[in-house]
């Protein structure tokens, strides 16, 4: 009964016009009760016979010009493109196109913003250099094409990678008076504030002779690096990194303020003092960050100076001589700046300041600037500390790239000098300040890498081929840390095609790099990344792979091994057949097998291997028949504990995405079934609905991809197994029922609608499958739909015994009709009673109730019956009494319009009568 009632819910149009709907005539005694009208009422319920096919309102398609989901579609396409680029994380895009989830998974507006370049960060670059750069837009374009990273990226990398927990010392005469240790509440034992008078150390020796005194005086006059008159050098020790940074930023602020209040010399002095902070290389692991912070200040000054000079040279409001005078004056001022800077006594500040002002040469003579550039890069040779020298080189190269991006001579020289300095040995034994147990070699490799990388990338972006060749030769001649760093920065910065050409010699170089700075596997990985971007010549590929894999196989740490192997697997998959891929995977299995205790930790890496192999392979199909590939899948299957961590899901996704066509191999299907079963088993009370939905979709797409062709028995077997495995996911079960129905219909098609004895029993098995499965579903609507579907299928296939659930069969049964009539009559009676009992403040509820009841009767009842008509008129009077006149008018209009073709003249009369 309840099923029948559902089938007749208005708004659920029957898809099968030959079904007759319930036609119940209800007649029964009505017990009179006090009603509002006071009359005794006899209630009957008689149901009208419906002609759904005729009543159905066909939807007329309208042509459209724009796709309502256009935006979504675009995004999906975009994301599909992304998927191919990001090979590491494949999705199951092609199978399930859910526009909502694809929007969600794709770049949402927020992450779009994240990905876009921040317009503000661009401004951080000193405008002086920027302007100079803009002068040569083409070069800039070339840079973005190459592997050149920007200074901002470099800066951010350095700041986040070189930190210290130790204490730092800050020396400056520009520290605020309030900046004493007391005001900062520094613990007493950490308070170190020293002051010294403005006389530099050398002049403090007692008993100075007259000439020495004069010399001291002159030095004070001549050089700017001494303290401002009466200034006191404060040295504040025991600072944390944050405090140190804060102080530097404070000085930057002060520099800008000084400049704006026309105290240019003070601004220059502040910059000089900041650079002096760089002449202390300890702690080494913080030096790079210190460098970057100081460079910020230098950049600020440089841009202020440049802007002022530029403005001077362009301004034309000179009373006499016009713009030329302005230009000459600007040149004179520029020279004055260089004179000032040239007289700075100490090497480091002089070097940095002149480098910072290099762009100003463009106002005098570009050639002079280029000469100054090469002179500056040679002057760095005078810096004894290799670390300080390296970072100075980085700065000069950076400024050089700004003023003369095509010059490479000075970079090559710098690199040579850099290597030479490293050969002389690093900091003396025991002097280096170790950072939390980091050993000296790796610290050295870490701190020396950024400058070299920067120089190399400057070189790589503009130098001709033969220069790069010469660097490669230097790699071969190099030794120790220098060679190691050079090779790794070469791999990181040089153009891919260059590296691809030289891949084989580079591999031999890597094999020879014994220094424990950058590890061999890191170098191999970088090389792999390059050859994946640009392929080496055909005849080199096999020797290259052999040489590389020999090295990879010796990588001791399994994690490192797997990451490197993953990168080279991509290369192998791209350029070789599945046989080679299989061989490599065999090696991987051997490695992982020996390290079984830590299996779990390597799952993500191994998953990456699987998806790499699948994504890049030229013939993924053959891969699935490879022994070691299946072996790899076996590893994941071995225990289901991993199901929760997404690895299994990743494997399944990868397999589904990259498997060409349907799954026909029973072994592979079995593998997948097990994996999906593990996924299913991982669902528990804590699983979110969304996750549940995603897993269901994944499993469904798997089920739909399984196809055993004409072997219907096996297909059904698979569905049976699947039902057993995924019993907790309703949507999967729904999908299974649909699949089985399809299978039955496929059988029917094959047999040309004439079942043999064997197929008949098979189809019956299918129908039985459906009827066993459907009752376990939670949602009644779904259940009903599936019953209808499977019933239809069963009917078509002549499985009358299985059509049992169909409404049409027992919907017309007189017994059922009678039962329904009785129930409805009782119900109607009760409702009327209820309406009558509504008095007082509840009276207002009569209206809606009566109105609904009226519609119910008008829709479902057979109004040709006089008793029924009587009830209707009664209720109509209730409606008139309690409802809003507007509602009544609307109802009346509707009835008048529809009663014409429904032949309800009596009803129309009733309504009109009521109005009268």
């Amino acid at each position: 009964m309840d099923r029948a009632a559902e089938a007749l819910t208005p708004g659920t149009p029957s898809r099968y016009p030959y079904f007759t709907s319930l036609s119940l005539a209800i007649s029964g005694p009505y017990k009179p009760n006090n009603n509002p009208s006071g009359r005794i009422m006899s209630v009957v319920w008689k149901i009208r016979v419906r002609q759904w096919g005729l009543e159905k309102n066909p939807l007329i398609p309208e042509p459209t010009t724009s796709h309502p989901l256009q935006g979504v579609k675009d995004r999906t396409l975009k994301q599909a493109g992304l998927v191919y680029e990001k090979k590491s994380r494949p999705t199951v895009q092609p199978m399930m196109i859910d526009p909502l989830s694809s929007v969600l998974d794709g770049p949402d507006p927020l992450s779009d913003l994240l990905g876009a370049s921040d317009p503000l960060s661009g401004k951080a670059f000193p405008s002086a250099s920027r302007q100079a750069m803009e002068a040569d837009k083409d070069t800039e374009m070339a840079i973005t094409d190459s592997r050149h990273s920007t200074w901002e990226q470099h800066r951010a990398f350095i700041l986040s990678n070189f930190t210290t927990t130790g204490t730092l010392t800050f020396t400056s005469s520009f520290l605020q008076p309030s900046d004493s240790a007391e005001s900062r509440a520094v613990p007493l034992h950490r308070r170190v504030v020293k002051t010294q008078t403005a006389v530099t150390e050398r002049h403090r020796t007692p008993g100075m002779s007259g000439s020495e005194r004069i010399r001291a005086r002159l030095e004070q006059l001549d050089t700017l690096d001494e303290m401002s008159g009466g200034g006191v050098v404060r040295e504040v020790g025991g600072l944390t990194q944050e405090e140190f940074t804060h102080r530097l930023n404070g000085l930057k602020q002060e520099l800008t303020e000084a400049w704006q209040s026309d105290q240019r010399v003070k601004a220059l002095k502040i910059a000089i003092q900041c650079v002096k902070l760089l002449s202390l290389s300890v702690p080494e692991h913080f030096y790079p960050s210190k460098f970057v912070l100081v460079i910020d200040i230098l950049d600020t000054l440089a841009s202020l100076v440049y802007q002022r000079l530029k403005f001077k040279s362009q301004s034309e409001n000179f009373p006499v001589g016009g713009s030329d005078t302005g230009k000459l004056e600007a040149q004179e001022t520029t020279r004055n700046w260089f004179y000032k800077v040239a007289s700075i006594r100490e090497l480091l500040p002089r070097l940095y300041l002149e480098a910072a002002l290099l762009p100003c040469y463009s106002l005098i003579n570009v050639q002079e600037g280029e000469q100054a550039l090469s002179r500056l890069s040679r002057m760095i040779r005078g810096i004894g500390d290799p670390l300080m020298a390296a970072y100075a080189r980085m700065y000069v190269c950076r400024m050089g790239f700004v003023i003369a991006p095509t010059l490479t001579q000075h970079i090559s020289e710098s690199i040579e000098d850099f290597l030479h300095a490293l050969k002389q040995g690093l900091w003396p034994e025991g002097e280096a300040d170790m950072n939390m147990g980091e050993d000296k070699d790796s610290l050295a490799a870490r701190v020396f890498f950024p400058p070299l990388e920067w120089m190399m990338q400057c070189l790589a972006s503009c130098a001709p081929h033969h220069i790069l060749q010469s660097i490669l030769r230097q790699c071969e001649e190099g030794e120790g840390l220098g060679q190691n760093l050079l090779v790794s920065s070469l791999l990181a910065t040089f153009p891919h095609h260059f590296i691809a050409l030289q891949a084989l010699p580079l591999t031999h170089l890597i094999a020879g790099c014994s220094y424990p700075g950058k590890l061999q596997h890191e170098l191999l990985s970088s090389l792999g990344v390059c050859v994946n971007q640009a392929a080496p010549p055909q005849q080199q590929q096999l020797p290259l792979l052999n040489a590389v894999w020999k090295l990879i196989a010796r990588v001791p740490n399994t994690k490192d091994y797997l990451s490197t192997a993953g990168i080279w697997l991509e290369f192998t998959a791209k350029h070789f057949t599945s046989v080679e891929v299989n061989t490599l995977l065999g090696d991987v299995l051997k490695h992982v097998g020996t390290d079984r205790s830590h299996d779990q930790t390597h799952y993500p890496a191994m998953l990456a291997l699987v998806s790499t192999a699948l994504t890049n392979s030229t013939d993924p199909h053959s891969l699935f028949s490879m022994k070691h590939f299946l072996g790899l899948l076996n590893v994941f299957q071995r225990d289901s504990v991993s199901a929760g961590d997404g690895v299994t899901r990743g494997v399944v996704e990868a397999l589904l995405t990259h498997h060409p066509g349907d799954f026909t191999d029973p072994i592979l299907v079995q593998h997948l079934l097990t994996l999906c079963g593990a996924l299913h088993d991982s669902i528990n009370a804590l699983t979110t609905d969304d996750e549940r939905r995603q897993l269901s979709q994944l499993i469904i797409s798997f089920i739909r991809q399984v196809n055993f062709g004409r072997d219907f028995e096996q297909q059904l077997d698979f569905y049976v197994n699947a039902r057993a495995a995924f019993s907790n996911l309703d949507t999967v079960l729904v999908s299974l029922v649909q699949c089985v129905c399809r299978l039955a219909m496929a059988t029917w098609n094959v047999m040309h609608s004439q079942h043999s004895g064997k197929t008949a029993s098979f189809v019956r098995a299918c129908a039985a499958y459906c009827f066993i499965t459907v009752p376990s579903l939670a949602y009644s609507t779904t259940r009903l739909k599936l019953y209808l579907l499977s019933g239809t299928v069963a009917l078509i296939n002549n499985c009358l015994g299985q059509v049992e659930g169909n409404d049409s069969l027992y919907g017309g049964d007189p017994k059922v009709q009678q039962e329904a009539e009785q129930l409805c009559t009782t119900l109607l009676h009760n409702i009327l009673l209820h309406i009558q009992s509504l008095t007082g403040i509840h009276e207002k509820r009569c209206g809606p109730l009566a109105f609904s009841l009226f519609w119910c009767i008008v829709t479902w009842c057979d109004l040709t019956q006089p008793q029924m008509m009587k009830v209707t008129s009664q209720i109509w009077s209730l409606v008139l009494k309690h409802c809003h006149p507007e509602t009544v008018v609307q109802a009346r209009d509707w009835i008048s319009r529809h009663s014409v073709h429904q032949k309800h003249t009596s009803l129309a009369q009733l309504v009109r009568h009521g109005q009268a």
């Binding site: 000439s211 004069i214 010399r215 002159l218 030095e219 001549d222 050089t223 002449s279 260089f338 004179y339 040239a342 007289s343 006594r345 100490e346 090497l347 480091l348 002089r350 002179r375 040679r378 002057m379 040779r381 005078g382 810096i383 004894g384 500390d385 300080m388 000098d417 030479h420 300095a421 002389q424």
Partner: protein, 257 residues
């Protein structure tokens, strides 16, 4: 109107050369006067009076030296304008220094020669205790010994070997003023610029550039006059990590070119 050029010995030179100071009066190099306008009334408002004075030495034996303000020696040229007025009013006078510089290229063009040098413990003079000097060898060269003032001083040096650590390598520009007459002379050296070219224990075997821009205020062309001399020297100072230092001195000639 007159123009006066004078050479004075600085009153600051004390002690030894006091007697000399007293004896040597400022030498007048040039002294001319010319009447730029005849006596009469100057109309109220701004009046520009053009004038011209040839820069001719006072006598043929005198040379016009370049303007120079040193500690002991000063070459100064000035213009003074006097307005003589009637007896009742005071004369008005205003003096203004002007600078005399030789035309570039007017100096005698001597051949530029590279100055090679080598500093070893053995080459050092004035060593008290040779045993305390570490073994070292520094080679290098100055591009020339005659430098135009407008161009930087250039060259390079290489620390070939050194058994001690080096803490700094510096270039010291020293000006030597010699004042003298027939009775004797006095020589005073003062550092006018010190530039560090090597900081810390520099790499061995690599050429470090020697580069110094001459400070404009404290340099002039090397000048040799009968009663005074202005000369320049370059000191290369190598300071070891125990604060001992080694100095090598090179006389250099500065020219206006």
């Amino acid at each position: 109107m007159d123009g006066i050029a004078s050479v004075q010995l600085s009153p600051r030179s004390a002690g030894l050369i006091e007697s000399l100071v007293n004896s040597s009066k400022p030498i007048s190099l040039i002294s001319q006067s010319v009447e730029v306008t005849k006596s009469g009334r100057i109309p109220s408002g701004q009046t520009e009076i053009p004038f011209e004075l040839p820069l001719n030495p006072r006598s043929s034996s005198k040379i016009l030296y370049e303007t120079y303000h040193g500690v002991y020696i000063m070459v100064q040229y000035s213009l003074r304008c006097d307005i003589k007025r009637s007896l009742l009013a005071k004369d008005v006078s205003k003096s203004q220094e002007f600078i005399v510089e030789y035309k570039p290229g007017s100096g005698d063009s001597e051949e530029e020669k590279v100055v090679n040098f080598e500093i070893r413990p053995e080459t050092l003079q004035n060593v008290r205790d040779r045993a305390r000097i570490p073994q070292f060898l520094v080679r290098g060269h100055l591009d020339t010994s005659i430098f135009p003032l407008s161009k930087p001083l250039t060259g390079e040096l290489t620390v070939c070997e050194c058994e001690r650590g080096i803490s700094s390598i510096e270039l010291q520009l020293v000006r030597v003023e010699t004042c003298g007459s027939t009775e004797g002379y006095t020589r005073e050296a003062s550092e006018i610029q010190n530039i560090q070219i090597g900081e810390g224990d520099v790499c061995r075997g690599i050429a470090i550039p020697i580069y110094m821009v001459f400070p404009r205020l404290f340099t002039c062309a090397t000048t040799v006059a009968p009663s005074f001399k202005i000369e320049f020297e370059l000191n290369i100072v190598i300071i070891f990590d125990n604060d001992h230092l080694v100095v090598e001195t090179f006389p250099i000639k500065l020219i206006r070119s």
